[in-house]
Symmetry: C2
């Protein structure tokens, strides 16, 4: 097989470098998604006043989009932890192809799921902050200030996870082209 | 270069088949995303009653998430139309590598953007249908029934686009492994 002018550079040992980078990027993505899943899942705020019948308490599962966010980022965290095994396999076996294609597909699906969870939660956080007077949905962040802050903060980790997964997909492509 | 046991099958002309499939999947994705962008952007409903000061009218840009959805799916549609040129190049030049990696990266970014727009819009559609009595956001679909139906329907096309893009990313990986 001749190296054409469009080829990136073909020394297979370079794949070991990519595999090691892949492993560390996965670790960063795990920390980001796991932290944001935990931060969202443990968020609740009880207001200091209450009526006879009702305590004012906000929890993440009051809003279905936040529940979806917690489920999605938990699934992606679990997948990323399991995928470390294949990542280590790639450090040892630089020529593996089928397992790289499998990982490319699963990374893409995981990125889609994590992005869907993050975007749905962001849409609701935006509404909680600003409300929408066209349809009479009021901001809840004046009352549930701490709840809103924590919920907004927990999105950062999952967006970091999305960025890591995009880089991982790109690295898989480069590694596949260099066998 | 010897074909190892992990390799999928190596005849380069097979890449032409993948490139042709790639082209047609892109066409389907363009139809889906473009249709849903247009369907969402042209949605509006004016209620048959009005007070002295206010006409009750719902448009997509009353809700920021719907605006984001229209912008995101328009950008992805435009990108997919432009990417047809590279897709045709791949049918002609089955061995291209760098342009495949570029397309893999851009497809991944486009998939993330489209998924973010769709998920944000879905979160708001869900709220419009069901409301949320924990935070006093009321359903608006009883009044704006046609608006809600059309908005919900327009999401289908963009999710079809997401699925097409995931398959395109997988095909890129397979094509890269088979040079």
């Amino acid at each position: 097989m001749k190296a054409g002018p469009l080829q990136l550079g073909v020394a297979p040992p370079a794949n070991r470098g990519i595999a090691i980078l892949d492993f560390f990027l996965r670790l960063i993505a795990i920390i980001g998604t796991l932290a944001s899943a935990i931060a969202m899942a443990t968020t609740n705020q009880t207001l200091p006043f209450f009526s006879q019948f009702v305590r004012f308490r906000a929890k993440f599962n009051d809003l279905p989009s936040f529940t979806f966010f917690v489920v999605a980022s938990s699934i992606v965290s679990a997948y990323l932890i399991l995928s470390l095994a294949i990542s280590i396999l790639h450090i040892v076996k630089a020529h593996a192809v089928n397992s790289r294609i499998l990982l490319l597909f699963l990374d893409t699906a995981a990125m889609g799921l994590l992005m869907a969870g993050s975007a749905a939660a962001t849409a609701i956080v935006q509404l909680a902050h600003n409300g929408n007077n066209k349809v009479n949905w009021f901001s809840i962040c004046q009352q549930y200030n701490d709840f809103c802050k924590r919920v907004s903060g927990s999105l950062i980790g999952s967006y970091a996870g999305v960025v890591m997964l995009i880089i991982l997909i790109l690295l898989s492509g480069v590694a596949l082209s260099r066998r």
